[in-house]
C-alpha cells in the first residue's frame, strides 16, 4: 500500500497529462476529436507529445463514427475527444449508435470548471445526464485523485462483457490541476464482473439438443465478431463439424465466410429466402451472439414456431428479452464455441444423418428460388448489379477490402451482394440505423489500415449527412472510396411509401442534389459519375486504382425495390419476393403498418 502511494506521489502531473498517460497505458495510438474551450488543456498536452496521433474531424458525430470504424476493424477501443456543450451533444448520435451495436468507444468530453457546473455557463450541458441512456456507463470526474483510475476503469468497462461506449466528462479545472498518476489496478472491479466462461451444464444441454436435431440451424451475430477473429474461426469449425446451415445477422456478416456452401446468407427483413425459411422450419436453433432483434424475427408469435431454441449471449439481459428460449448460455461467443466443440466431440450420440441430408435438400430447394437474382438489361444500372460488380472486381484485384455503409436500400444491397470471408471487414449501423455513418466510419477504418481498400457504399441522401468529412479525408490523405448508389430518392423511405402508403412519395425525393463530381473536386478528391451499365466495370477499376479519395456517383435505377422483404408484422415464411419470383406473398397487414 505504502509503495503504491509512494509511486503515485512521485508521479504528479496535470490532469491533461494524466489523461494522455492513461490513454497511452491502455494502448491508444490514435484519437478522433475536435477542440474547444473546455478541452484546450488536453489539446495543449497533445501538442507536446508524439505518442498519440490526433485526427481532426469536421463534426463531433463523425468523430464517434470514425472511432467506431476504427474499433470494429481492429477489435481495439476507439477513442474520441470533444469539447463541452455542443461538442458533447453532437457526439450523442454516435454514442447511441455504438451502444446499439455494442462497439467499444471511449468519449472524453470537456466540461466547464467544477465550480461553474449547474450555473448555465457558456457551453455547459449536463453531459452525464444527457449521455446516461446513450452509453454503457459514464463518469464525471470531480476529484483529480480519481482521474487516472477513472480512465483505466473506463477502458475495462468499455471492452468487458458486452462492449459499449463510455463517456468521461472532464471539467476544465481538473485538466489544469495537478494530481497523482496511478497505473491500471490489478484487482478485479468492485461490482462489474461479467461472466465470460459458459456454464458447462447449459453447454451439455445445448449439445444434446443439437445432436438430436433433424433440421438444425446456426444463427450467428455481431457477438461472434466482437469476441475476436478466433471466435469466427471456431464458428466455422463448429458449423462444418456439425454439417449445419449457418445464417448471419447484419452485424454478424463476415463471422462465417459468405462463399462457404453451408452459408445461407443474411436472415431477417431483407434476408434470403433460404435463410428465413430455414429459420422458420428448423427444429433446433443455435443463436450465438445475436439478440433476436425485430428486424430478424419478424412477427414474434410466428417466429420459428416449432423449434427448440438455444441462445448464447454475453449479456444476460438479451436472453429471454424478445424470444423465450429453451437453453440459455451466458458467455463470450469464443468461449462458448470452444466449449460446444469440445462437448460435441465428447458426446457419443450420433446425428441423424438421413434427416440432415433431407434438410439440406429442402434448403437447396429454397435456394433454387434464386431470391437475389436480378436482371441487368439495357443501359440503366441496377443497384444490385453495381454492388455485385464492386464485390467481384475487388475480389479479382485481390485487395484487402473493408466496406462501410450508410443506411437504407444501398445498405441492404451491400449486405446481400457483397460477400465477406473474414470478420471485421464490414462496418454498418445496424441497431440505430444512422444515416451518415459510413463516411466517417470509413475514415476510422482507413486510419487503422492505411494500405487497405476502404469503400463506403452510400446512398445520395445519406452521404450528405456527414459530407463535411471529405475535408478530413483530404487533410490526412485518406484514400477512402465513396461509392454512391444514386437513385435520387431516400430509397428505403420511397420503398415503404410504395408498399404501405399508396405510392405517395412524401418528401422522399432527393431534390436539388449537388454535382457530386464537383463536390469531390471542391474537397480535393477525385469525382466520377457513371450513368451507363457498360461503363460500370471500368469506372470501378479506375476508382480503386486512384491513389486518393474518390466519390463515384453511380446513377442507378430510380424505382428499384429491395427484396426479399419480410413486411413489418409478417412472419419469416411471408416474404415479398422480387417481381417474377415464385413463392412470396404480397401486401402488409394493418398491424404491420404500425411497426417500423
Amino acid at each position: 500500500m505504502s509503495a503504491t502511494l509512494q509511486t503515485a506521489e512521485t508521479r504528479t502531473m496535470t490532469g491533461a497529462e494524466i489523461v494522455l498517460q492513461a490513454l497511452k497505458d491502455n494502448g491508444v495510438e490514435v484519437i478522433f476529436g475536435y477542440p474547444g474551450g473546455a478541452v484546450l488543456p488536453l489539446y495543449d498536452a497533445l501538442f507536446q507529445q508524439n505518442a498519440i496521433r490526433h485526427i481532426l474531424v469536421r463534426h463531433e458525430q463523425a468523430a464517434v463514427h470514425a472511432a467506431e470504424g476504427y474499433a470494429r476493424s481492429t477489435g481495439k477501443v476507439g477513442v474520441v475527444l470533444v469539447t463541452s456543450g455542443p461538442g458533447a451533444t453532437n457526439a450523442v448520435t454516435g454514442l447511441v449508435d455504438a451502444l446499439m451495436d455494442s462497439i467499444p468507444v471511449i468519449c472524453l468530453t470537456g466540461q466547464v470548471p467544477t465550480h461553474l457546473i449547474g450555473n448555465d455557463a457558456f457551453q455547459e450541458a449536463d453531459t452525464t445526464g444527457i449521455t446516461r441512456p446513450a452509453t454503457k456507463h459514464n463518469y464525471l470526474v470531480k476529484d483529480i485523485r480519481k482521474l487516472a483510475s477513472t480512465v483505466h476503469e473506463a477502458f475495462y468497462v468499455s471492452k468487458s462483457g458486452r462492449p459499449g461506449p463510455v463517456v468521461i466528462d472532464l471539467p476544465k479545472d481538473i485538466l489544469i490541476g495537478k494530481g497523482p498518476y496511478s497505473e491500471a489496478p490489478q484487482a478485479p472491479h468492485r461490482s462489474y464482473r461479467p461472466q465470460t466462461e459458459p456454464d458447462m451444464a447449459s453447454i451439455r444441454a445445448a449439445v444434446r439438443l443439437l445432436k438430436g436435431a433433424k433440421r438444425p440451424i446456426v444463427y450467428a451475430g455481431g457477438g461472434v465478431i466482437n469476441a475476436g477473429p478466433e471466435a469466427s474461426r471456431l464458428l466455422g469449425d463448429f458449423v462444418r463439424m456439425a454439417n449445419m446451415p449457418c445464417t448471419n445477422t447484419l452485424m454478424g456478416l463476415g463471422a462465417f465466410p459468405s462463399e462457404d456452401p453451408q452459408f445461407l446468407g443474411m436472415l431477417g427483413m431483407h434476408g434470403t429466402y433460404e435463410a428465413n425459411l430455414a429459420m422458420h422450419g428448423c427444429d433446433v436453433m443455435l443463436n450465438i451472439g445475436a439478440r433476436f432483434d425485430d428486424r430478424v424475427t419478424g412477427r414474434l408469435n410466428a417466429f420459428s414456431p416449432n423449434s427448440k431454441k438455444i441462445h448464447a449471449d454475453i449479456d444476460p439481459s438479451s436472453i429471454n428479452k424478445n424470444v423465450k428460449v429453451d437453453v440459455a448460455i451466458v458467455g463470450d461467443a469464443g468461449a462458448v464455441l470452444k466449449a460446444l466443440i469440445e462437448c460435441w466431440q465428447a458426446e457419443e450420440q450420433p446425428q441423424d444423418q438421413a434427416a440432415i441430408a433431407e434438410w439440406w435438400r429442402a434448403i437447396d430447394g429454397w435456394r433454387g428460388t434464386g431470391c437475389l437474382q436480378y436482371r441487368q438489361e439495357g443501359s440503366i444500372i441496377k443497384p444490385q448489379h453495381a454492388v455485385k460488380r464492386l464485390y467481384e472486381i475487388t475480389r479479382e484485384m485481390g485487395h484487402e477490402t473493408f466496406i462501410t455503409t450508410e443506411v437504407g436500400q444501398h445498405q441492404m444491397w451491400a449486405a446481400q451482394y457483397f460477400g465477406f470471408q473474414k470478420p471485421n471487414r464490414w462496418m454498418t449501423s445496424g441497431g440505430l440505423g444512422t444515416m451518415g455513418y459510413g463516411l466517417p466510419a470509413a475514415m476510422g477504418v482507413q486510419i487503422a489500415h492505411p494500405d487497405a481498400l476502404v469503400i463506403d457504399i452510400a446512398g445520395e441522401a445519406s452521404i450528405l449527412m456527414n459530407i463535411q468529412e471529405m475535408g478530413t479525408l483530404a487533410q490526412y490523405r485518406l484514400p477512402v472510396k465513396v461509392f454512391i448508389l444514386n437513385n435520387e430518392y431516400m430509397g428505403m423511405v420511397r420503398q415503404w411509401q410504395e408498399l404501405l402508403h399508396g405510392s405517395r412519395y412524401s418528401e422522399s425525393y432527393s431534390e436539388a442534389l449537388p454535382d457530386f463530381v464537383r463536390l469531390a473536386e471542391a474537397f480535393h478528391a477525385r469525382g466520377m459519375r457513371v450513368t451507363e451499365a457498360s461503363q460500370l466495370d471500368d469506372a470501378i477499376r479506375e476508382m480503386i486504382a486512384h491513389p486518393g479519395p474518390v466519390i463515384a456517383d453511380i446513377a442507378v435505377a430510380k424505382d428499384e425495390n429491395c427484396f426479399p422483404m419480410i413486411p413489418s408484422g409478417a412472419a419469416h415464411n411471408e416474404m415479398i419476393l422480387a417481381p417474377g419470383q415464385e413463392g412470396g406473398v404480397t401486401g402488409v397487414t394493418d398491424e404491420g403498418k404500425v411497426l417500423v
Partner: protein, 174 residues
C-alpha cells in the same frame, strides 16, 4: 390476442445493492422510464458506510418475462453489486413507514386516538387540534388506517416506499 393468452402480471419486490455514488439513482430510475417498466414504489438509503453501499428497494409489476428483464437490466449497470427478486426467492418481510397528520377537536380527536391505538400507530406530535401519527407496516395496513382517518380529519400523509428483507439467516452480500 385472446384473453387466455394474456400474460399474467405479478408484483415483484426487488432489492438492489449499489455503489453509493452520484447519479446511481438516476441510472436506476432512467432505466425504468426508458424501458417502460413500472415503479410502484422506490426506497433508497446508504446501508454500509465503510463499503460505500446503498440499498434500493423497488416494487414493480409485470409479467415474469418483464421482471426477469428488469433484474437482468439492473444487474448490468456498472455500479450495481447485486440484484434479488425477494418475491421469488422465498418469504420476506416488507414494511412501509407513514407520518399521518390528523386535524380535529372533541369526539373526532378521541376517535382518532382509539383507532391509532388499535393500529399500533404512535403519536409523535400533538397540539390541541392535531396529531401526527407514525405507523409502520405492510402497505395495506397503512392504506386501511389512512382511509379511516379521512372522515375524521386527515390533513396530510407522508409515506416511504417499501423496504424489504428476506426472512431467515441468509444475507445479501455484495
Amino acid at each position: 390476442m385472446p384473453d387466455s393468452l394474456e400474460p399474467t402480471l405479478r408484483n415483484a419486490t426487488i432489492a438492489v445493492l449499489v455503489e453509493n455514488e452520484a447519479g446511481i439513482l438516476a441510472r436506476v430510475v432512467g432505466l425504468f422510464s426508458g424501458r417502460g417498466y413500472n415503479i410502484e414504489s422506490l426506497t433508497v438509503a446508504p446501508v454500509d458506510a465503510d463499503r460505500r453501499l446503498s440499498r434500493i428497494t423497488i416494487v414493480t409489476r409485470g409479467t415474469d418475462m418483464v421482471i426477469e428483464q428488469i433484474k437482468a437490466q439492473l444487474d448490468r449497470l456498472v455500479p450495481v453489486h447485486k440484484v434479488s427478486d425477494l418475491t421469488l426467492e422465498g418469504p420476506h418481510i416488507a414494511r412501509e413507514l407513514a407520518l399521518i397528520k390528523v386535524v380535529g377537536k372533541g369526539e373526532a380527536r378521541m376517535e382518532a386516538l382509539r383507532l391509532a391505538d388499535a393500529f399500533r400507530a404512535r403519536v409523535v406530535d400533538a397540539t390541541i387540534e392535531s396529531f401526527v401519527f407514525e405507523m409502520t407496516g405492510a402497505g395495506e395496513k397503512l392504506d386501511a388506517f389512512i382511509a379511516l382517518m379521512r372522515p375524521i380529519g386527515l390533513a396530510e400523509v407522508s409515506r416511504t416506499g417499501v423496504v424489504a428483507i428476506a426472512r431467515g439467516p441468509g444475507g445479501f452480500e455484495a
